[in-house]
Symmetry: none
Subunit: 206 residues, 4 copies
DNA sequence: AATGAATGAGCATTCATTCAT
DNA sequence: AATGAATGAATGCTCATTCAT
C-alpha cells in the first residue's frame, strides 16, 4: 500500500534508528491496546519498552508523530493483506465475500494492533481539538466498497440500492465484528465472518 | 426504562438537588459533545454551566458518577422512545423496520445527547482501567434484537441465520448511521434509515 | 500611574485572591532577583513561598501573566514615585535633576524589585520568541525625557542637541547606576546620582 | 588584547580542531543573536552548523566553555579595533571622542557578534547561579575610561568630577547606543555616536 | 575525530479531588 | 447548599551531558 519511497520527505533512517522506532511503535501498540488511548502516556509506553522517556522524544518529534506512525504501520499491513487477497477476483460477490473474510483472517493474527488502531482512530485529536482520524478517514474504504457494490449493480449481480449506505454498513459491520470478538475471545471469528458475508450478499442480490 | 425506584439505594433528592444535577448533566452533555470526552474536564463543564467547580463535586461523588448519570438519562430517553414505537407490533419485519426508523427519528432531535453518549461509551473507564461501557454494555440491545430476529425465524418470516451476528450487525449499523450523519450534516438521515431497514430485511427474508 | 479601573477587563478579585497574588508576585520577585529569570521556575517560586506549585497555576493563567503582573506592580511603583516628585516643577534643569535623584531615592528601598524588573525586561519573551519588553518598551520613558529636554531647549536653558540621543543616554545612565550599585553594595548611590545629574546638566546647558 | 599564550593552560590545538571550534563559535554567535541566549540550545547551535550535537561536546568541555570562547573572541576583536584607533592620541578629548566613534564604527560591521556578546553578558551564569559576566566584568573598561578622564583632569582639559561615575555612564551610553540601533535599524548610528561624543565632552570640559 | 543514541532531571501546565468556610 | 482555594500527581516536552562505537 504505502512504500517508503512514496512517503513525503522521509530522511533515510539508520538500521538502529529504524529498529528503535519499530520497538517504540510496538510498545505503543501494546500499551494503547491494554490501557486505552487516554492512559497511554509516553511515560507508560517508555516504561513498557524498558527505555527512558527521553528515547521516545529522541526518535519521534512528539506524541502525535508516534501515533501517526502506529496508524500507518498498522493500517498499511491490513490494507496490504486484504488487497492481495482480492487481487484478480472479478465478480462483485466474490470481492465482497473476500473482503469480509480476509479482514477477519487478518484480525486473528493482529488483535493488539487493530485494538490500538481503533483507539487512535477514535481518540487522537489535532492541536485544534478535532479528531485526527474521524469517520471521514474511512472515506477511502467507503469509496473502495462502493466500487465493489456498484460493479455488482452494473453486472446485474446486485439489485439497485444506495451504495453509500451499503458501504457504510459493510464497513461498520466488519469493525464491529472485530470489537465483538475482542470482547468475547471465545467467539468464532471465522463463523461470524461467513455469516456476515452471507448477510451482506443476501442484502444485495436481486 | 429506568425508574427512580429501581435504581440502587438512591436517597430521595430535594427539588433543588435534582435541578442542579440535571443542570450539570446537561452541561456535561454539551461539553462532551463539543470537545470530546478527553477534553471535557470538570472545570470546563462547570464553566460552561456558569457554576463553580466545587458544585459538581458537591452533587456528584466523582466524575464517574456524573458520567454514569449522563448515560442513564440519555440512554433511558432513547430506549423509552423506541420501545413506545414498537409497542403492539407483531411481525418481526415490522419490529425490525420500526427499530431502525424510530432510532433515526430520535437521533434527529437528540444529536448532542447521542454524541455525548457515544463519547462516554468509548472512553469512560473504571478505576482498574477497563472500559466502563464496552461492547458488553450492548448486551441488552443484542438480546432484544435477537428476540426480534428469532421471532421472525419462528414465524417463518425469516430464513435461518445466526441471530447474534445479525443483532450485532444491526446494532452497529444503526450506531454508524448516527456517526456518519454527525460527520456529514447534510446527509439524509431518514433515507439512510429506510435503506438500512431494507438492507436488513432483505438479508433476513427467505 | 495605573489604576485598577483603567486596566482592561479585570474581574474584581476577592481579598484572599488579591493577597495570594501579591504573595506570589513577591515570591517571584525575590526568586528572580536571586537566581535570575532563566532559573526562576514556577516550582522554585512556589517553594520559596512555601506553597504548592498548583497555587500559582490557580491564581495566574500562566507564567507570562505572573511576569507581567510583576512588571506592572514594580514599574507602576517607581513611576508613581518619580512623577510625584516631579509634579509642579517648572524648569527643565530642575526636572532633569529631580528625575535622576528621585529614581535613585526609589532604588534604595526597592533593590530586589528593580533587579527582578530588569531580569524580566531583558528575558521575558512572547510565544513567537521575541522579547516581550525590549528596548522599545522604553519608548514612553524616552518620550517623557525628550519632553523635559525639549522644554529646556525652548526655554533657552539648554543648548541645541539631539533630544533622542540625550534621552536614551539619560535613561541608560540611570539604569546602569542601579546595576552598578547592585554589584557594589558599598557604592554611594546618592553621590552617584548627584554626579550624574551634574553630568547631564552640564551636557545640556549652553 | 589576549594572546594564546596568556590564556591559562591551553594545550596547543590541531588545525582541524581550531577550525571546528571556530565554526561552532560562529554558529553559536548566529543562533544566540537570532533567538536569544535562553533559546540557544546546543541542539540548535549544532543544527545551525549542520553538525551533530556530539561534536560540540567533543570540542568543548561544556556549554559554558563555548560561551566563554564566544565572549573572548568577540570581545577581543572589538578591543583590538578600538585600541588601534586610539593608539598615539594624546589629548583626553581626542581619546574620549575616538573611543565613542571607533566603537560605533566597529558595531556597524559586527552587529551579530555584539548582539550575542550582550546576550551572554546578561545571561550566562556559573554553576552557583551567579552571573558569569556581571557588571564587574566591565571593570577593565571602567579603568581604561577612568584613565582617559583622569588624564583630562590632570591636563586641565576637564573639570573636576567623579571619574568612576563618568566612566560608568560613558560605558553604558555606548552599550545602549548599540542596543538602540539594533532595535531601530534605520537609526543613524554615526550621528548618534557624534552626538554622544559631544554630550560627553561637554559634560567634562570646564 | 566524530557521532548517533540515550539519559534523567527539569520545565509549564492540566486536572480531579479535598476541604474550610 | 455552595464555593473558592489549594493540592499533588501526571502529562508532553526540552535539554546538557554521557558514552560506545
Amino acid at each position: 500500500m504505502r512504500s517508503e519511497i512514496e512517503s513525503s520527505g522521509q530522511k533515510s533512517r539508520s538500521f538502529i534508528e529504524e529498529a528503535r522506532r519499530a520497538q517504540i511503535v510496538a510498545s505503543a501498540i501494546e500499551v494503547i491496546a491494554e490501557v486505552g488511548f487516554a492512559q497511554a502516556s509516553l511515560a507508560r509506553i517508555a516504561a513498557h519498552a524498558d527505555i527512558s522517556k527521553g528515547v521516545i522524544s529522541y526518535h519521534f518529534a512528539g506524541k502525535e508523530e508516534l501515533m501517526v506512525e502506529v496508524v500507518e504501520r498498522t493500517y498499511g499491513a491490513i490494507a496490504e493483506h486484504v488487497l492481495t487477497k482480492m487481487q484478480g477476483l472479478q465478480s462483485a460477490t466474490e470481492l465482497l465475500r473476500t473482503h469480509v473474510l480476509s479482514v477477519a483472517e487478518h484480525m486473528r493474527g493482529h488483535r493488539t494492533q487493530l485494538k490500538a488502531l481503533g483507539e487512535i482512530f477514535t481518540n487522537l485529536r489535532t492541536a485544534d481539538g478535532k479528531l485526527r482520524y474521524g469517520i471521514k478517514a474511512s472515506e477511502p474504504t467507503y469509496l473502495a466498497l462502493e466500487g465493489i457494490y456498484r460493479l455488482g449493480q452494473e453486472s446485474g449481480e446486485f439489485r439497485d440500492f444506495d451504495v453509500r449506505v451499503m458501504a457504510v454498513t459493510h464497513s461498520s459491520a466488519v469493525d464491529t465484528m472485530f470489537a465483538y470478538w475482542m470482547a468475547h475471545p471465545g467467539h468464532d471469528l471465522d463463523a461470524h465472518a461467513r455469516e456476515l458475508a452471507d448477510l451482506l450478499e443476501r442484502a444485495c442480490v436481486t
